[in-house]
Structures are given as structure tokens and as C-alpha cells.
């Protein structure tokens, strides 16, 4: 039998040193008696020396970092059996069960996890429920944690209230911050903190006003803010009256019903009518149902009278958000190709056959969907308007959808591309691929080849558009 005397209730270092030697000495868990030093020596000098046999120096072992973190956490628990449980876990980790911590359903692991959870919750609640009271520039709080967590909870307050002088007093341990260092002192009593603060009435007013009496959920409140904390929370004294009066307040509200608006309120409306947003006809288009899911209609842009007009399929994710055509990945590729073909984008009119983004939501993304024939037909009205207004010498149809919208028939892009085609109502058109087609090609060699063909088509178009 080995007896180990730990210096104080949170003597993690003492436990770790002793446990290490015990494992090396082959001391089985049931043969170790873990004791915490007498209360008088609490947090005193760690003079007690564990009665553990000496071991040879050449034997070593290691344990997962996770275990050391777990051990350090659990050391703060008030359960007297915590050190024995930790030693038992250590023993098993070093005796054929190196992956023990992965098996959360193991009896001892789950017990340790439960303790760690309790510690984390206790620390969290301390961060949440400490209430400072100010006395001559010094902020003081009284708090009663369940476990030995003051050391672990304190750094949070130092990071948050770095330039305040504050102290948190608890029954076991107190902590003080002077702007530079955390100091720990023995436990204190509630009488050591002021019994009121100038702002507590304001805080209670806020607490009461933010409460909605029509949504009473007392159990939900109690599970997160258990009753044991209430006596140290200044706002908690409002809980009873708020619950008591909730039903009456809701009933009275219903009884009073609606009143007629004061004449004053009508004056506000007249005095300050919100500025009307510029109502583009396009943005109010309801010809098909694509507007429902899209952010906005994306109009074309470019100078009226541009010699070259480029027509894509529809706005994509980025275009839909920005409200501008060809600003996403396909737009960037188009920009590059236009530069390579010797075209200045600012001189062209760029638009889409369909003005709203069509997509299906999948996971976190919006997946592009090809517009169907009827959507293209409905939107052609806008495209025709644009063509009539711009009167380009040549229209470049990027992809089959644009081709269909302008030629009013099914097109075969690869067969018909690169040639100057006549349009029914006058004007000319050149058909080529959509830049997103290039983005989708998996083979890098094919990508280069197709890109060059695309640039060649654009060059043909610009030569035609700029001639004469």
C-alpha cells in the first residue's frame, strides 16, 4: 500500500509527480491511497513527501496530451475520489489501453468526462454570474463556485478588465487584479464586498424591461440560471414579481386592444416620407418566377451605341449579390480573354439573356441551374429592349442560351461558332462558348486549346464590329 499526501486540493503538479513514480514502480491503482493535506495546510507549503519507492531512471513512458489536460481540469473537482480515478486511467493508458480516452463510453472515462464537464460549466457560470460592485474605483464581487476553480477562471477577468482594479472573493479562495498581476489570497466572506452599487437599479430596470411576459418559460430560465446562484445576482429579486404579474400584464394588454393612432404620428409620416428607391422597371419584373429566389435583377451595362454587345446566359452567385453582370469567376475569365483579343470592356455593352439568377440551394451553396425555354422567352423582352437601345454592330452570344434567345431557335454552339450570322430583325451575331464552359473543362491541355479558340472568336467579332 502506498499513501500519497497531496499538498492542497488542486495540487495537480503533486499528483502528476507522484503518479509518474507510482507507474514506474508498478504500483497498481487499488494499492494507492490518495490523500489531500490537512485543511490547515490548505494551499500551504507542499512539504508532504509521497511515500513512493525510488525507481530506476532509465524507464520512461508517455501519455497523450489530452489526458494531462483532462487531469489538470479534474483536479479542480470537489469529488474526493478524483485523484484515484485519474491514477486508474493513467494505469490503464500505460497498460495496454493507449486509446482509452477515445472510448468515451468506458465507465471510468465517462465519469472523468462528467467531472470535466462540471468543471467547465462551473467556470463558465463564474464568468457569467460574477457581479462587481464598485467602491472608490475598486470593483469587488462575491461568488460561490461549486469546485476549486478560482485559479482557472481568473485569467478571463484579467483579459477583460485589464485596466480595472478588481477582486473576486469566494469561500475557498480570492483573486485580485492590480492592473498587472493576479494575486490569490485565502477565502473571504460576503460581508467583505459592498452591499449595493449605483447601477444595480438600472440593471434591474433593464432585466425587467427586456422580459416578455407573453413568453413565460420558467424551466428554461432555471436550467441555465439555477436557483443556487440567485442569492448573489442583483437582478434575481425581480424574478418572482415578473412571473407573478406576467399573466395579468398579458391579459390587460389584450383587453386594451388597439387604439386609434394619434394625429401626431400621421404628421411624422408626412414630414418624413422615406426617399423612394430608384424603381427600375427591370427590378420589378415578374414575367417569370425567377425573381422570387434571386436577390435582384441584374441589368446589362455599357455605353449606348457600343459597337459590340456581349450576351451571357444569366447572373451567377456573385453577380446576383453585386447586382452587376460578369463580376464572378466567369466574368474574370471573360475580362482576360477580352484583353487578349484586344477589346476594351468599357467600350462594350455586356448583359445576360436572363436577368435573374436561377439556382437550387445545396448545402451551403447555390448551384447554378440552366434557365428553361419559357424563362428565356419571358426575359427576351428585356434583351430586345437593350438591343434596340444600344444598336450594336455585332452581338456576341456567349453559349447556347444566349444563342437561343437571340436567334429564336436551338443552336449547336460548336458547329456554328465563329461565323457572322444574320439576325432576323437586322443586325449580326457571332456565336461562341460561354466562359464558364472553359472553367468547367477538367483537362488543362483542353483548357488552353479552348481558351485560344475563344479568344480567336472574340477577335473575329471585334474585327467585324470595328470595321467600317
Amino acid at each position: 500500500m502506498h499513501a500519497v499526501d497531496l499538498a492542497h486540493p488542486v495540487d495537480y503538479e503533486g499528483w502528476r509527480a507522484a503518479a509518474r513514480r507510482l507507474v514506474l514502480a508498478d504500483a497498481r491503482p487499488e494499492s494507492v491511497d490518495w490523500r489531500v493535506g490537512p485543511q490547515t495546510g490548505l494551499f500551504g507549503d507542499p512539504s508532504a513527501v509521497p511515500a513512493i519507492p525510488a525507481v530506476s531512471r532509465n524507464r520512461e513512458f508517455s501519455v497523450p496530451r489530452d489526458f494531462l489536460d483532462l487531469a489538470e481540469t479534474i483536479t479542480c473537482h470537489r469529488d474526493p475520489a478524483r485523484f484515484a480515478l485519474l491514477y486508474s486511467l493513467l494505469w490503464r493508458l500505460t497498460h495496454g489501453e493507449p486509446k482509452l480516452l477515445d472510448i468515451v463510453s468506458d465507465r471510468e472515462v465517462s465519469r472523468a468526462e462528467a467531472m470535466a464537464r462540471a468543471i467547465r460549466r462551473d467556470i463558465h457560470k463564474m464568468h457569467a454570474f460574477v457581479r462587481f460592485r464598485e467602491r472608490e474605483g475598486h470593483y469587488l464581487a462575491w461568488f460561490e463556485p461549486d469546485h476549486f476553480i478560482v485559479e482557472r477562471a481568473a485569467p478571463f477577468f484579467a483579459r477583460r478588465f485589464a485596466n480595472m482594479d478588481w477582486s473576486i472573493l469566494t469561500p475557498d479562495r480570492s483573486v485580485h487584479w492590480d492592473g498587472e498581476t493576479l494575486h490569490f489570497t485565502p477565502g473571504a466572506s460576503k460581508a467583505d464586498v459592498p452591499d449595493d452599487d449605483a447601477l444595480e437599479d438600472y440593471w434591474r430596470s433593464y432585466y425587467s424591461s427586456i422580459f416578455n411576459p407573453a413568453r413565460l418559460k420558467i424551466e428554461a430560465m432555471k436550467s441555465e440560471m439555477p436557483r443556487k446562484y440567485w442569492h448573489n445576482l442583483p437582478e434575481a429579486r425581480m424574478i418572482r414579481p415578473l412571473i407573478r404579474d406576467a399573466g395579468r400584464r398579458v391579459a390587460e394588454m389584450a383587453e386594451r386592444g388597439a387604439t386609434s393612432p394619434s394625429p401626431k404620428s400621421e404628421r411624422w409620416a408626412l414630414a418624413t416620407v422615406p426617399e423612394p428607391t430608384p424603381e427600375s422597371g427591370l427590378d420589378n419584373c415578374r414575367r417569370c418566377s425567377l425573381w422570387r429566389n434571386a436577390t435582384q435583377a441584374v441589368p446589362g451595362e455599357g455605353p449606348m451605341g457600343a459597337r459590340l454587345m456581349l450576351v451571357g446566359e444569366q447572373p451567377g452567385d456573385q453577380e446576383d449579390l453585386a447586382g452587376r453582370a460578369f463580376v464572378g469567376p466567369a466574368g474574370q475569365l471573360l475580362d482576360r480573354a477580352m484583353v487578349d483579343a484586344g477589346i476594351t470592356r468599357a467600350d462594350c455593352y455586356v448583359t445576360n439573356a436572363v436577368k435573374h439568377f436561377k439556382f437550387t440551394p445545396r448545402g451551403k451553396r447555390r448551384i447554378h441551374q440552366k434557365p428553361d425555354v419559357s424563362e428565356v422567352e419571358h426575359c427576351r423582352w428585356w434583351l430586345t429592349e437593350e438591343v434596340a437601345a444600344v444598336r450594336p454592330r455585332l452581338i456576341v452570344a456567349l453559349g447556347a442560351t444566349a444563342g437561343r434567345a437571340l436567334l429564336r431557335r436551338d443552336v449547336a454552339v460548336q458547329r456554328e461558332r465563329g461565323a457572322i450570322l444574320r439576325l432576323g430583325g437586322g443586325g449580326s451575331l457571332l456565336l461562341t462558348v460561354h466562359p464558364s464552359y472553359l472553367l468547367r473543362l477538367p483537362d488543362p491541355a483542353a483548357k488552353v486549346l479552348e481558351y485560344d479558340k475563344f479568344v480567336a472568336d472574340l477577335r473575329t467579332a471585334t474585327t467585324y464590329a470595328m470595321s467600317a
Partner: protein, 412 residues
């Protein structure tokens, strides 16, 4: 707080009361900030936000949630602050908001400020007032706590830039799930402007994240709120709208707010208790969409409304019994996530355990799952005894919570 303090306390009451119908109080997921090492900074923001108190409505109080003013030129029927309402009106000065925020913060009552406002004069003017408070906190007082600013749709881009510089989170409320409802109940609000503003916010947030050189812009992302039960939109329609908001604008959260009777309410709105259980089921369904791989379309039954008696995952499993039981020792993560009563954490732990041993019922028990709920839908390494519960017609009755428990949240 000396001089005129009675008046300030009254303002606080009026302008907190005016803000309480906004459900959001989150203070999580922003960039990390600390006042440690600063000369006179105050506050910190670290990963998870903290709920500093809970009101008897079960809601967390994390931020000082107030309106700068409840004067408003809009007349949205569902809103307590609408122009035609006879509620008492008040207006804080920016200095008063700063004093209250810092005073509360120093006493550890709050994580920060959630500031909203009625629309006064114009969207830009209103936005400027909100930004002014945020600027005073951040620049003049070195405040490093959390700031959530309500964004006024279609406020100018420069104002948006400045708001994103100071705020941790920005939000624009979509208010109602259907555009027609917004037209009817909030005639001055423009659904298109709301969507455009959300789109703009997403682009700005992503731009700021793309490079450390970009100026800070609302690292806590954007969120919104939808009022449930003020119009006729069913749950299918609500979740489809949420799905669009999540995928389109990458919102951190969509908050659902059961329409709650407001003082001096309009007669064209439903009277009576807020549909709290429906709100709860919507949150559960929302969770299934975001973390459990469910599509918006498959969660809601054909009637268009979520089952109020049982949770949406259990309801889904009961009509898809052919997909069960799932073998906890073999099934993939996606299938395990669809088992009623098993959360993401439980599933990940199971996957870890089964690499080392065969999983039995007692393992599930120690993972703190509700065995009676999970058991009919899984097989474990234990021998199967008797007929599967899956075949029983009364499985739903067996698994549905007892009526007493169900009525609990409806206490009011």
C-alpha cells in the same frame, strides 16, 4: 449616473421594452479581442459568447439590447414601435448609451451592446446615429467587447464600411417570410432592398476575410430575424426562405420569433398567445438543415406544417421507417445523424468508440442519449430480442412526450 438619472432610467425602460421583440442576443463567433496589454482599453471578445443572465421568458441576456430611439417613421403593423402606435417614445443621446454600456460592462452584466433604432429622418441619418455610438465606444473608450449593430437597408456604402469596421455583427431583419406579407404589413419596407443589402453584406464580409490586408468588416457575420405567425406562411415556406438566406447570404443565424401580442396592437394581426412550440420546432428544423444534412424540402410533412407534438427528426424517421434500423457499428456518419435522439457530438463520439470496440446499448447509455428514443432505430452489438419496435403502429404514441411535458413551454 448623477443628474437627471431618473429620466435616464425611464428611457432605459422604454427603449429596452421596445427592443425585446428582437430575439437575437448572440455574442459568439467574432474575432478575438482583449484589453490586456492596452493602456486604457476595456473588454474582451473570445470565441464563445456568454449569457450573463436569463429572464423568466427563458431567453439569454448577453448584450445590452436597446433602441437608440423608438420614434419611427415606418408603420409596420407587427411592430410595437410603429408610427401609429401610442407607446411612450424616448430617445437616448449617444453619450447615454455609451455610459450605460460601459457601466454595465464593468460590472460584468453584459458582453456588449446590441443597438438598433427606429427609422428617423432617413435611412442614412439613422445609420449614422448608430455608427456614432459604436465609434465612441471603440475609438474614444477602447471598448473591446461585442457590438451588434442593426443595419438599415439601403444605407449608403460608406456608412456600411464604417459600421463593419466597429461592429462584430451586423443584421438586417427580413421580418416576414413572404414578400407579399411584407407589402401588406410593412408597406414602407422594401423586400428587394433588404435582399440587396444582405447580398452586399455577404460580399463585404467575404472580402474582409479573404485577406488580412482588407479592413475589418463584421467578423461575426450577419444574422436576421423572421416573425412567425403574423402572416399565413406555413413552415415549408418559412424554411424555404431560411434556406435561401443561408445559402444566398451565408447568414450565421436566422432567428425565428413567435409573433407575440404587443401593446396597442393592430386589429389585423392574430391575437392571443405567441406560437412558442411552433417557434421551437422551427429552430429544430433549422438545426437539421444546417448541421444534419437535411434538405429544407424533406423536413416538413406534406401538410406544410411541422408536427408540434414530436420533434422534426423523429417525425421524419417515423415516416421513413424503411431506412431503419441503422447499425451503429457500420453505418456512415450521414445515416447516424438521421437517427432520432442522436446529436452531432454523440455521432462523432460513436465513430471514435467503434474504432476500438463493438458498440453496445450500454455504450449509448453512457453517451447520455435517451435510449428509449434511439433504441427502435438502431441495432448494436447486443443480440436483438423479439420483434423490432419499428413495425409497431403505436411507435409514435410510445415516443411522443407526455402531454404534461409538452405544455410546459406554453405555461403562459
Amino acid at each position: 449616473m448623477t443628474g437627471g438619472s431618473v429620466e435616464l432610467r425611464e428611457k432605459l425602460e422604454i427603449l429596452a421594452d421596445a427592443a425585446k421583440y428582437d430575439a437575437s442576443c448572440a455574442s459568439s463567433g467574432s474575432d478575438r479581442k482583449t484589453s490586456a496589454g492596452t493602456k486604457n482599453g476595456i473588454g474582451s471578445t473570445e470565441g464563445m459568447g456568454i449569457c450573463h443572465a436569463y429572464a423568466p421568458d427563458g431567453r439569454c441576456i448577453s448584450l445590452l439590447k436597446i433602441l437608440l430611439t423608438n420614434f419611427c417613421v415606418y408603420d409596420c403593423l407587427y411592430c410595437v414601435n410603429r408610427r401609429s402606435s401610442n407607446v411612450r417614445r424616448a430617445r437616448f443621446t449617444p453619450e447615454e448609451v455609451v455610459r450605460l454600456t460601459l457601466g454595465f460592462y464593468r460590472r460584468n452584466y453584459i458582453e456588449g451592446l446590441f443597438l438598433s433604432s427606429g427609422i428617423i429622418q432617413s435611412p442614412d441619418h439613422t445609420m449614422e446615429q448608430l455608427i456614432r455610438v459604436a465609434r465612441m465606444l471603440r475609438v474614444d473608450h477602447g471598448f473591446r467587447g461585442y457590438i451588434h449593430l442593426k443595419t438599415i437597408p439601403d444605407a449608403s456604402p460608406d456608412l456600411l464600411t464604417e459600421a463593419g469596421l466597429y461592429a462584430d455583427r451586423l443584421s438586417i431583419n427580413i421580418e416576414l417570410p413572404a414578400e407579399q406579407s411584407l407589402d401588406r404589413l410593412a408597406p414602407e419596407k422594401d423586400a428587394g432592398a433588404i435582399r440587396r443589402s444582405m447580398g452586399r453584406l455577404r460580399l463585404r464580409i467575404e472580402e474582409a476575410k479573404s485577406s488580412p490586408k482588407e479592413p475589418r468588416f463584421a467578423p461575426g457575420g450577419q444574422s436576421t430575424q423572421m416573425i412567425v405567425g403574423a402572416d399565413e406562411t406555413d413552415d415549408q415556406g418559412i424554411l424555404a426562405t431560411s434556406d435561401r438566406l443561408y445559402t444566398g447570404y451565408r447568414l450565421r443565424r436566422v432567428y425565428y420569433s413567435a409573433f407575440s401580442p404587443i401593446p396597442d396592437s393592430s386589429s389585423s394581426l392574430p391575437p392571443g398567445a405567441p406560437p412558442l412550440m411552433r417557434e421551437h420546432r422551427l429552430y429544430q428544423a433549422d438545426w437539421l438543415m444546417r448541421f444534419y444534412g437535411f434538405d429544407a424540402g424533406e423536413i416538413v410533412p406534406s401538410g406544410g406544417l411541422l408536427d408540434l407534438q414530436i420533434d422534426p427528426k423523429l417525425a421524419w424517421a417515423l415516416v421513413n421507417r424503411h431506412l431503419f434500423p441503422v447499425d451503429v457499428n457500420k453505418a456512415d456518419r450521414e445515416s447516424l445523424l438521421r437517427v432520432p435522439g442522436m446529436g452531432v457530438r454523440t455521432v462523432d463520439r460513436l465513430l471514435s468508440i467503434r474504432r476500438h470496440k463493438a458498440v453496445r446499448m450500454e455504450d449509448l447509455g453512457r453517451l447520455r442519449v435517451q435510449l428509449s428514443k434511439v433504441a427502435p432505430f438502431v441495432t448494436t452489438a447486443d443480440p436483438q430480442i423479439g420483434r423490432s419496435l419499428l413495425d409497431r403502429v403505436d411507435l409514435r404514441q410510445r415516443l411522443a412526450p407526455k402531454p404534461a411535458q409538452l405544455s410546459l413551454p406554453l405555461l403562459a
